[in-house]
């Protein structure tokens, strides 16, 4: 599973494309837990939403390896 990282999420993860090779992550919620556990700085620095296929996803949404997944930290355009 590949996860795109932007803004502060990229700084926390240390790369713009994170590859996760792990069984059992099949929902947005599961992915969020994995990310917070793996990168505890998320807790300290920022909240984030998760996008699946270029749209905001809700916690119960499914994720599969073929989806385009992205971590969306608080936006600040304009």
């Amino acid at each position: 599973m590949t996860v795109l990282c932007f803004g502060i999420a990229r700084d926390i993860v240390g790369q713009s494309k994170l590859t996760i090779d792990r069984e059992g992550i099949n929902s947005v919620e599961g992915l969020r837990h994995f990310l917070i556990e793996t990168f505890p700085k998320f807790k300290e620095y920022t909240s984030f939403r998760i996008a699946v296929n270029q749209a905001f996803a809700s916690e119960k949404d499914e994720v599969t390896n073929s989806d385009e997944i992205a971590i969306i930290p608080p936006v600040s355009g304009g």
């Binding site: 795109l4 932007f6 502060i8 270029q54 905001f56 992205a70 936006v75 600040s76 355009g77 304009g78």
Partner: protein, 142 residues
């Protein structure tokens, strides 16, 4: 929305207000409203040297299209143009331009405000502020 009614652009080049104005000119409209967001020198008492914008481009465009569609449905806009700058942007330079044309002025004002408010809430664009002694992602502090 049809292509000739909506113009969205994310670009590393300087933005052009007259281009955004010209796009929304429309014979049926008596009101055109423009919002121009510029880079200010001071934020919360700290002096900014410049900003750097990045975006998740395909999703940013998809979100802007959704916002424009809502604005059209809610305020009966005729044409909408949204241009956002990316990359390094200097003090006083333009970060964003929104222009909207409507039959009457009130709807144009409201639609323009609605679009910039939604953009700031939901469009995946991030701003990094650079100060003389460091830099940080805006809104990322908990």
């Amino acid at each position: 929305m049809e292509d000739n009614k909506l113009n969205i652009k994310l670009t590393n080049d300087p933005l052009n207000l007259s281009e955004c104005y010209r796009f929304v000119v429309e014979p049926s409209c008596g009101g055109i409203n423009a919002f121009v967001g510029t880079v200010r020198q001071w934020n919360k008492g700290e002096e900014i040297t410049h900003l750097d914008f990045e975006s998740y481009e395909p999703m940013a465009i998809a979100e802007l299209e959704k916002i424009a569609k809502k604005a059209k449905d809610q305020f009966n806009t005729q044409k909408i143009c949204i241009h956002h700058r990316l990359g390094k942007v200097a003090i006083t330079e333009i970060a964003v331009i929104i222009t909207v044309s409507c039959k009457h002025r009130k709807a144009a004002f409201q639609a323009c405000e609605f679009i910039i408010d939604q953009l700031k809430k939901d469009v995946p664009i991030w701003k990094k502020e650079f100060l003389s002694n460091g830099s940080y992602w805006v809104n990322a502090r908990p």
